[in-house]
Amino acid sequence: MGTTFTLYLYATDKQTADAEAAPAFEEIDRIEDLLSNYRESSELSRINREAGQGFVTTDPETFSFLKTSMDWSARSQGAFDITVGQLMKAWGFFNKRGRIPTDAELEILRKETGWQKIQLNPATRTVHFTSPGIELDPGGIGKGFAVDKAVAILRSEHVASAMLSAGSSTIYALGAPPGQTGWKVMVPDPLDPGHALSTVTLRDTSLSSASCAEKHFILGGHLYCHIMNPAELRPVEGMLQVTIVDPSATSSDALSNVLFVKQPVDSRRFMQSLPGDRAFIISGTKDKAVCHPIHWQDTIDQGHCTMENGSHE
């Protein structure tokens, strides 16, 4: 995952804080060992190497991670897809050297991408790729998965108040700071990151964001975002930032990608199946941002974005 995880917690002294934090960080390291596609010895890398040739037996935890990923793919009709590994490489995001693949490359990539090419058999806990060359990239869900696991450890230690952030893109708020109703998290203006478009208070829930602000490349004056539209085999266009609140960090991480890839009008329809979730989508370009709040209850600074027509939530 290669992300910096930051844990905020309340404790009587630094020693107690260290003692409570250590097992949570250890859990994150364990998940990184399991799912990192940057580590050749990880379980995910082993699956990437071997599942194109045969059936790879994996452990229940990794299997459930893959199953959850597949469920989100099915539910989002492919807007979320962990088979974008080759796409990420072809567009140069894996080694941070942005480039545009040729048509011939894209033709091959079409065969090497697609969640429906993953076969999971729960009876044998096996994974198989029906097409060779598939490469799983946990980028759209792994951080959330790690956050959920680490939060479970904090809960088992009876930590009452903590906030865990995975590179600021997935955050979990456990309980609330003493005397407060929750942890305050700012939704930045994608065009002016120092400015808050909205501020949410979170308690026992997670928030994930997707944006192009940190990972992108510019070629010929055009900005290419690191979030892929799997159907088009290319980076998403016309989207600036997505924020979503869901009780599960794994879900919010995956959902932030779903909403980033889908058109706002489709996202609004999709969100009907998630009545308890709140989302804040900002589409547009660097010249004009359009805000699309969905079930969003907090105040939005409307001086910084145009509200979507008909959006009166």
Binding site: A11, T12, D29, R46
Partner: protein, 414 residues
């Protein structure tokens, strides 16, 4: 009044190695329960001590379609629910390892208890007629180490040590290249395992301190030299082709004055023949160098980590090539032909060892163990390999506590 302070902590590097297992201290009894695995059958495994390291072994066995976790034993019962969650079903569990060994349906036993119990549990498992995967170190005293060698050698049974580096593709390839002379004559191994944490595990209630934090007390733990250094001593033994003959060392508590009786830092030097030496250092208050091991040879150096291996070369001197020798340019010239500037350290790239299958070394070790169980072939990390490292840690600890130099006894033939 709010006495709470908000503390912000950043993620640290942390490498898991040793187990938090605890298991019963009941006296050894032999049982005759035996089971035999046919060539394509599932190998049914019983795990004594499924603590953190034991659970990692279970996880890796779950990646192998021909292994099944059939039963577990621990005196700390919260482990059982952890195992059930990991395996995805209820695994029969015992508080007494003798009851686990009495089962008729186990083909192999994993021993991942604290080091002070390895001898008792491994010996009982061997006597029950099962192959054993034993976490390091082999034993806690010279007699225990020798006793397990005798038990294996006289029975012909399989005992594989939890030395996963022996199974890491990049380390196997590097050692072959070192043995072929790629860095000239290897004369020194410098091993570092540095961390920045207190090595403590959270304890649900004070009465469980010694059970959970057994690593911190001399009665149950060989400290950093045993729990971490045994891996690196094993690599030095592999490189030098022998066990060390002598050791000096020192240890202290520099930061964690919390009642522990093992040091929170250790330094030890092991003597090998022909003047060769191995240096081991472990700190727990600075993680800058992490876990890495260097092999220094007369013509180059190799760095081993848990993920890769990298070769570096000394500035070249003219060497007469044999007549008709083919000259081959190395793939990466930066590694092969660097020049140091005066005595400044080299800061350029090295030549990373390329391997096709960089799978997790513990998984590779577990797979090799199943192969040994089926074929009765002795493993690479066999009991003799286990002895050579364990005896160095046992005597090394004595040398450090007494701050004296002690000879290390050689293995006796059974």
């Amino acid at each position: 009044m709010d006495l709470m302070n908000k503390v912000k902590l950043n993620r640290r590097e942390f490498v898991q190695t040793a187990s938090t297992a605890a298991a019963s201290g009941i006296l050894l009894q032999a049982f005759g329960a035996k089971a035999h695995a046919a060539a394509n059958d599932i190998i049914r495994i019983g795990v004594i001590g499924p603590g953190s390291r034991g659970q990692e072994l279970i996880r890796q066995f779950l990646h192998l379609p021909d292994a099944q976790i059939t039963a577990v034993c621990d005196i700390y019962e919260p482990r059982f629910t952890q195992v059930d969650r990991l395996v995805g079903k209820t695994v029969p569990s015992y508080r007494d390892y003798r009851e686990l060994l009495a089962r008729k349906d186990l083909d192999a036993i994993v021993v991942s208890t604290p080091v002070s119990l390895h001898h008792e549990h491994a010996l009982a498992a061997l006597r029950s007629g099962r192959p054993v995967y034993c976490e390091k170190a082999l034993g806690f005293t010279p007699e225990e180490c020798q006793g397990l060698v005798n038990a294996v050698d006289t029975s012909g049974q399989i005992l594989q040590m939890g030395f996963e580096y022996r199974y890491a593709a990049w380390i196997q390839k590097s050692i072959a290249e070192i043995q072929a002379g790629k860095i000239g004559e290897p004369t020194h191994v410098y091993a570092y395992w540095h961390r920045n944490n207190d090595w403590r595990r959270p304890v649900p209630s004070p009465g469980l301190e010694h059970l959970i934090n057994w690593r911190l007390y001399r009665e149950t733990s060989g400290g950093l030299l045993t729990e971490l250094g045994s891996h690196q001593i094993d690599i030095a033994n592999w490189v030098f082709g022998e066990q060390p003959s002598k050791v000096i060392g020192t240890t202290s508590i520099v930061k964690y004055h919390d009642g522990r009786t093992v040091g929170d830092n250790v330094q030890a030097v092991f003597n090998y023949s022909k003047g060769r030496r191995m240096f081991f250092s472990s700190l727990t208050d600075n993680a800058e160098v992490g876990n890495q091991l260097w092999i220094y040879g007369t013509e180059g150096s190799v760095q081993f980590t848990i993920e890769d291996a990298t070769f570096y070369y000394e500035p070249k001197k003219a060497v007469a090539a044999p007549a008709g020798a083919e000259v081959v340019q190395r793939g990466i010239t930066t590694g092969a032909s660097y020049q140091t500037k005066g005595e400044m350290p080299y800061r350029g790239a090295g030549e990373k060892v390329q391997v096709e299958n960089a799978e997790d070394p513990t998984l590779a070790g577990c797979r090799a163990f199943l192969h040994s169980v089926r074929t009765k072939e002795q493993p690479i990390a066999n009991v003799h390999v286990g002895f050579a490292s364990a005896i160095a840690t046992v005597i090394g600890n004595r040398a450090m506590y007494d701050e004296r130099s002690y000879p290390i006894p050689a293995m006796r033939k059974a």
